[in-house]
Symmetry: C2
Subunit: 226 residues, 2 copies
């Protein structure tokens, strides 16, 4: 039983929403509503167009949610870290797929069960609403980046935002590939790589390895975001 105590591992990640955390109760494995799920790096959690049967709480690892166009172009809508809830934005079927970027553990709850619990519990309903609102804010911020920033600004904004999400001061491990970053920022892998190299050359960041980045001058980076 390697997953018996996923919740305690998780609690550190759940954002304090002001009150207690009804979601923690929803995803209580012991109570039987939630089922632990593992996904290896690269595996799909749910697919675009699939029926939205479950809602997932990311316990450990990292994931991406993406849409793929008919001709193969891919847009990553968001990256997900422990404490994030996935699949909540669907009403009937998933508009985007979710894939594990690293080995991942999730807790799955049936959407119908979640809905029933929310109908009983106003705090839970409010927390679900709050999650949707926060997702909306993130998505609108993302749209602003995609619509109005140049390549350097996009990469700088991404680095700063991701460091803040990981809550690291300077050095961090990126769970995603260059292609993922490119598909998130609406650029090509080439432009992302070049831009990172430029930032490195100008001393703003220190790319100690392709996945390991140190932010040397966060204020300079912030200025680059315009």
């Amino acid at each position: 039983m390697p997953l018996t105590n996923t919740l305690s591992r998780l609690e550190a990640h759940l954002q304090p929403t002001g009150s207690d955390l009804p979601l923690a109760a929803v995803f209580d494995e012991a109570a039987g509503a939630a089922v632990a799920v593992r996904r290896a790096a690269g595996e799909e959690i749910f697919g675009q167009g699939e029926a939205a049967g479950f809602v997932y709480l990311l316990v450990s690892g990292a994931a991406r949610s993406c849409r793929v166009l008919a001709d193969g172009r891919r847009q990553i809508g968001d990256f997900h870290l422990p404490g994030d809830v996935l699949g909540l934005e669907a009403e009937i079927e998933h508009r985007a797929s979710a894939e594990a970027m690293t080995d991942t553990v999730l807790l799955a709850v049936r959407r119908t069960v979640l809905a029933a619990m929310a109908a009983q519990d106003g705090d839970l309903a409010r927390q679900l609403w709050s999650l949707a609102v926060r997702g909306l804010q993130r998505s609108q911020e993302h749209a602003s980046i995609l619509g109005r920033l140049g390549a350097t600004e996009r990469v700088a904004a991404f680095l700063l935002a991701f460091a803040r999400r990981l809550d690291v001061q300077s050095e961090m491990e990126l769970p995603m590939t260059r292609q993922d970053i490119a598909d998130y920022l609406g650029l090509t892998i080439h432009t992302v790589s070049r831009t990172l190299s430029q930032l490195q050359d100008s001393g703003v960041i220190d790319a100690r390895a392709s996945r390991r980045v140190r932010l040397r001058r966060q204020d300079d980076l912030a200025e680059l975001c315009a």
Copy 2:
């Protein structure tokens, strides 16, 4: 009292969410919770960074929500039509401003009142959640457009989506300027104008006037969206 019966005018616009419409009760002017507000074209409904005191239901007219960067670049997050609820995505202060694009009538409800009603009424809470989810879906769709489509694809997607929202078969009146369209699509006014001219030359649309567009071949337009 020119606004006594805004609700009946409105009811035609409110999307059927499957059940009855608790929101209609919230915005019931006669009951005293809602106050009618008028804005002339170009006026601000609420501002970026302002405290989020009210939630607005758009009764008539059209509005845009936008963010402005320090250097003046503007990104329009969404356009709003009658039946849309504005300002719901804020938690404490507005991340975006909302402005009337035409003369507009809205009903305003204090956020605290709305929250109190939602705490009493599960159906209302569910409808608010549903609104947030739908906003999130729209925003993610928007991000995909901004991140991965070329200029022609963006304009074609915009025309089709807006026609669908207006529920018109072919000919429609656009409430926004070219600059608004450009700021929504992450393009310049020049590119938007040129692209519309090309679509006109290729016979896909008929721009009878700058604000009046007829979609001649919707299927061709859909193909252009990739």
